[in-house]
């Protein structure tokens, strides 16, 4: 047995059975080892941003880490943006970064670079394996580290000779148990109870606080004690639609969020961070809470939101409550607008869909319209690094056990990691992609005014518009093997969505919206 086989066996024994990768020469033994560990599923991405984004989507849906296989520093660098998003999502992930053989590193060969420096910006755990006999132990440590809690990125650098070298003896690796998230301390619970009893308080839910059991508990507290239940703006994974309590989402635009939060005398954070502006702006505060607002952190990511909320229910007393009834919108007709788009999605959404949202301005109405749609799970752009949606959809489909994935992508973001479409076709994944064409970095046209800039000249406009030449999103999908069609009316969109849900494998639907902010 060589190091690569030891690595794959150890990962597989510890429940890591999917590897997204784009290998190079230094990873060839890892690739060859796939033939020896047949229960490990290898999935090829044509760019490392696809690889890391897929591992993120997989982890959000399953709660388990996938492995990535990356080619030295440049491979890790190519995966950086989606690793950044995954770090912000607190998901477990194991990066295997192949490197030069240990004895080759001193020659500063062309592909040599400071892997540890790049890794340090995204990894919660980092180790360079020294020799084949260490691989199994290091891999088990990586799995342990990835689980956290909370989940984090564990990066294992695997020199080529640690991969191809034979082990000196059979390895036996301690199996890693998926850890339980601890309950919050009594002090934190007491603090939360105190402010809930004495102050005008909002509970802000994030991370595992946005899953069904936690939402239901938060709803009880809200209904019985006059507490406002809110949610972070960009959740890792949120249960939504019919049957899920709907907290008030903190608005992305700081100027509105400040108004939304201005009456809070206290907030209790459950898996969420203190709300701050996504960016700083010249005349808008970075801190969204009133200056005198008391902040109590009941649970951070890594503690159990459910345990925290159960403790509050026990202390405060609150019986289960019935969700208010609501209906999904009717299927729309007529022009395609951001509103009719959202209505079409909500009206047709199959139950248990995983919705990957990177719609940006085009998805303005989605969140609201989907409140009473069929039950679904929403994942969002946690770290603000665009190009996460298509890759995350790949991972969500592979981790989702046959559930339909709907990825809603803006054109500008889609172009970052469009190679993910090829993997969707190759793996015959049940993914519907809505490619929203507005031929613009529309959000930047919005942000321009918010930062107080004026860009009305031709030179500046050319950095924000995408309409010359116009991208043929359908063509980009079809050229990678994904059946594609373009829709220009709400009626066409409804039919296309329904057809896609009834068709195994991926479908791409280009949705032509009005240019810019629409």
């Amino acid at each position: 047995m060589n190091g690569a086989q030891s690595l794959l066996s150890t990962l597989q024994a510890n429940g890591v059975d999917v590897c997204f990768g784009n290998p190079g020469t230094s990873e060839m033994h890892f690739v060859a080892a796939l033939d020896h560990v047949p229960s490990m599923r290898g999935v090829l991405g044509l760019f490392e941003g696809v690889v890391t984004g897929a591992a993120d989507g997989y982890a959000r849906v399953t709660g388990r880490p996938a492995a990535t296989l990356l080619h030295l520093g440049p491979g890790l660098g190519n995966g950086f943006a989606n690793l950044h998003n995954a770090r912000r999502a607190h998901v477990p992930m194991i990066n295997v970064v192949g490197d030069h053989a240990t004895y080759h590193s001193r020659f500063d060969a062309p592909l040599d670079s400071d892997i540890a420096a790049v890794s340090s910006a995204v990894s919660g755990w980092h180790r360079r394996t020294a020799r084949p006999d260490d691989v199994a132990g290091d891999a088990a440590d990586a799995v342990r580290a990835a689980y956290g809690p909370p989940g984090q990125i564990a990066t294992l650098v695997l020199p080529a000779d640690a991969s191809w070298g034979e082990l000196s003896s059979a390895q036996r690796t301690a199996l890693v148990q998926r850890p339980m998230s601890p309950a919050p301390t009594a002090d934190r619970i007491a603090d939360a109870v105190r402010v809930l009893r004495t102050k005008k308080t909002a509970i802000i839910l994030g991370y595992d606080g946005l899953r069904l059991p936690a939402l239901s508990l938060a709803h009880r507290i809200g209904a019985h004690h006059g507490v406002r239940i809110m949610s972070e703006t960009f959740p890792t994974l949120q249960d939504r639609g019919s049957g899920a309590f709907q907290p008030d989402r903190i608005i992305y635009l700081s100027e509105f969020a400040v108004g939304q939060l201005k009456e809070c005398e206290a907030v209790v954070l459950v898996g969420a961070k203190i709300p701050v502006g996504f960016f700083g702006y010249p005349d808008i505060p970075s801190e969204l809470l009133p200056a005198e607002c008391e902040v109590v952190t009941l649970t951070e990511p890594g503690h159990s939101a459910v345990a925290g909320l159960e403790a509050l229910c026990d202390e405060l007393g609150s019986d289960p409550v019935v969700l208010p009834h609501g209906s999904a919108p009717e299927a729309p007709s007529g022009d395609l607008t951001t509103l009719s788009l959202a209505q079409a999605v909500a009206a047709t959404l199959p139950a248990d869909t995983i919705l990957v949202d990177e719609s940006n301005t085009g998805g303005l109405h989605l969140y609201g319209q989907l409140t009473h749609a069929a039950p679904h799970q929403l994942m969002t752009l946690t770290g603000g690094a665009i190009g996460y949606g298509l890759p995350a959809a790949v991972g969500a489909a592979i981790g989702g056990g046959g559930r339909r994935v709907l990825a809603i992508e803006s054109d500008g973001s889609m172009m970052y990691t469009l190679q993910a479409l090829w993997t969707m076709a190759r793996e015959s994944l049940d993914i519907t992609v809505l490619g929203l064409s507005n031929r613009s970095y529309a959000i930047l046209n919005l942000e321009l005014g918010r930062v107080g800039a004026t860009a009305e000249g031709a030179a500046s406009r050319r950095m924000l518009d995408l309409d010359n030449p116009q991208l043929d999103l359908c063509g980009l999908a079809a050229s990678q093997g994904v059946p594609a069609q373009r829709v220009t009316s709400a009626d066409e969109l409804v039919v296309a969505l329904q057809r896609s849900y009834a068709t195994p494998g991926p479908t791409f639907i280009e949705v032509v919206l009005p240019k810019g902010l629409g």
Copy 2:
């Protein structure tokens, strides 16, 4: 005047007049400032790997830095692989990385990350500007640092408030002179002369040693003194074709390079590094020179190869020599193979073409066949991080002053940064792209055996093949606005090449080669 305007004005005053960028919210004032500094050309890339690769190609052709505009840590990360290649090419480049406003950084907002850590792996110079009044001085320092010599990457982090804030007074920035590369010391010259006189010596040329004046001097020394003249494997920019002396290129495959170098008693390095294996392999040495070979470094990148070689000619005495005559191959006919591909390129190449080579295995015969083609310049993948070719072609065309650019791309590499095609169309760049379709990471099938791995199972094959589904390279180009056609015979390729050279703007030609190694 605000900080962004000060930055652009300073860059422009120091000869930096092209900015490749993909901006976000924190860069909006920089974008707006483009309207105030009209001689600065802003070029939008749809992904940061395009942006940094374009700046590399631009610098290779012009010797001058372009600026890049990148959006916080994820933008820098997305550009990492081509920054790595640029670092290995010793080109000047100025990264402007927008960041959160200084007062906003402490909130750990979603896009916050350790920019300095990522930058450290690629930048020779790094600074974070503190306030608007510092911008001009910092920008001038960045230009100075970028020039080296040798050229290097200078990364300036520009917080949003340093960008939008008003300067307290008019700034006057010292202009930066492009520095001269110094001549080597007398000791180095004496050492080189000694080994050239007493030992069986090869001169290995790299970097500026591969430009016409240096090649001509090296040819004289070689012809008169029985010295073998060789070149590094992956040059930054090499003058080739008719009229250029042709050194022996060190072979990529270490096992052959060892044989090529085995009789050397000494080597004199002129802008080149000591040759080492691209990767380490189980049974192939990493060091390619014989153990007892003496190494004399006459010039490193940053010293003048011409000055060094002139000194050798003065010491050794050597009159100018006439280049041996050679002819370009005839235009081929019949099947498309790696040989007929190379013949077609060589037979049709217009004079003064800039050839961007990322052909990998498909380009096996290119280097040899092009020896007597029309005069041209060759740039190659200096850092081994694939996805450099299409972006570098963008930069080469913008820096090339109307010269035709021919980019020869393998399918696997092309898929890394295919968004560059859109920028080619948008900017109407005179670029011919040959997209070599062999439906495989063919080089990895070669490398498999070299590292001693066996991958004959379905699981491993799936990580190396690109044929399911088959990529429609033409469709990918046409969908981004680049006219495209597919050729399946050498005759068609010749016609298509000739037509593309006669047609302004970009053309994409998909070249269908036999699958795999062909």
